[in-house]
Symmetry: C2
Subunit: 80 residues, 2 copies
Amino acid sequence: MKVSAIITLKKDVLDPQGKVIQQTLDGMGFNNINEVRQGKYFEIDVQENDSIKAKEIVEDMCKKLLANLVIENYKIIETQ
Amino acid sequence: MKVSAIITLKKDVLDPQGKVIQQTLDGMGFNNINEVRQGKYFEIDVQENDSIKAKEIVEDMCKKLLANLVIENYKIIETQ
């Protein structure tokens, strides 16, 4: 089954890339934005039909490779 | 309110970055993966309290800047 992982920077970590996107959007006329933060998204197709086990595998991947837990948070979601 | 946009490559578009992540995970012992596909994630805080309107604004941003609609799909989700 497919499981998705979203990796985002922690709240207090500066996100210059998000800031630039916000400025660009502002320049295009989107003036009502408070903040843009960028993250990473992974869609992982695991050979495991049990939803809970599949999520555990992907969480393990996040901890070991996909996320830098010092500055990033991860969120595991089921892909519809 | 905060709205999230997930940008993913279309099904038939090659994703070499995802492939490398899959190979790396395989080398780390995660051998039961069918596929990994990488995408982008944006969390946008819009000055708009109406959920539907906020989503429309972010959809507009995706069309105009965030996604390349030739090779990418976007999905708008409310951030919990």
